[in-house]
Amino acid sequence: MTEQEVFQQVVKILTPYVKNQEALDQVAMGTNILEDLKVNSARLVDVVLAFEDEFDIEIADEDVDKVNAVGDAVTLILQKVG
């Protein structure tokens, strides 16, 4: 999978949880998931579980700690997918 493909899938998964539509319209790798997109922190777990299902990967607790921006999620998924 290319970085762009993963990015598009990540944004698609995030979309139902996003509260800031304006930020979503301009989403980029550097967009912060909690602060910019206003995804509820409690829902971040659901988002990560959706990443696991979508990409058939397993994400450890410590890996979740590193996911702040959309790009962090993309990088993490690309690493796991290999």
């Binding site: 922190s41 409690a42 990560v48 579980l49 696991e52 450890a60 607790d61 979740v64 702040n68």
Partner: protein
């Protein structure tokens, strides 16, 4: 004992400076506890007129639990008001008990924006065995706070958390609402015991900042052994959900009584 799908190193070792800071916080809190512990209880008992109806029974059970094992103990309680951590601690021990057994007084993870915004509130939080957490903050910051909390549990301190992740907006325990961080802490400490505490005032119909003045509380406690064969996030979430489910059971018993 909770099974562990995969153990993280949460609380296994902090930076030396961090450990020193927490040890200092414990020492200062303990030195000043003859002032602040009775004061906190006096405010609840005489300032607000609150009373825990079955305090003797709860305190006896808590004393017994503490004497049975020195394994880490995490208290998981239902959450309806901003002062639940004070109420739960009071329900489980008298001021005299906590002065004699300071490590039995639970540590809390108060939300920074609620409790640690002014100099005075920060000082209070520091004294009263708290590690403020910014929910929704940067993930690494939240993880660092959980790391400190787990470290405290591993060294024999008691922790108190609210596994629903916030005050229940329905006024009842919501089995669908569970903070995965609680499961993460439990999973990281294999020998950790989990004590569920359900405490509710007679006049508490919904969530609020404070209980009604003069309210009478009743509590119930139960140990739970959450298990998960999964790993990673799913294990943490499953453990959290089992704990919340036990709180929901206690709530059912409370209203069936």
């Amino acid at each position: 004992m909770p099974s562990t799908g995969d153990e993280t190193g949460l609380g296994a070792g902090l930076a030396r400076g961090e450990e020193a800071r927490l040890r200092r916080q414990i020492r200062i809190g303990r030195w000043l506890s003859p002032f602040w512990v009775p004061l906190a209880v006096a405010v609840m008992r005489w300032g607000f007129g609150w009373r825990v109806e079955n305090a003797a029974e709860l305190r006896e059970a808590y004393r017994r639990l503490r004497s049975e094992s020195s394994a880490p103990l995490l208290i998981c309680a239902n959450h309806l008001t901003l002062v639940d951590s004070f109420l739960v601690a009071w329900a489980l021990g008298s001021p005299g008990f906590y002065l004699r057994h300071y490590d039995a007084l639970p540590w809390n993870l108060p939300e920074t924006t609620n409790f640690a915004t002014t100099l005075w509130s920060r000082a209070g939080v520091y004294l009263m065995k708290s590690v403020p957490i910014r929910r929704g903050g940067a993930r690494e910051e939240v993880a660092a706070t959980l790391d400190r909390f787990a470290w405290l549990l591993r060294r024999g301190e008691v922790g108190l958390v609210f596994p629903e992740g916030g005050r229940s907006r329905t006024g009842r325990v919501d089995p669908e609402s569970s903070a995965y961080g609680v499961g993460r802490v439990v999973k990281a400490i294999p020998e950790c015991r989990v004590l569920c505490v359900y405490l509710r005032g007679e006049k508490q119909e919904n969530w609020s900042a404070l209980p009604v003045r003069g309210d009478r509380f009743r509590g119930a406690i139960a140990m739970v052994e959450p298990k998960s064969d999964r790993s990673g996030l799913r294990a943490s979430l499953e453990i959290s959900r089992q704990i919340v489910a036990k709180l929901a059971d206690l709530e059912r018993d409370h209203f069936d009584r």
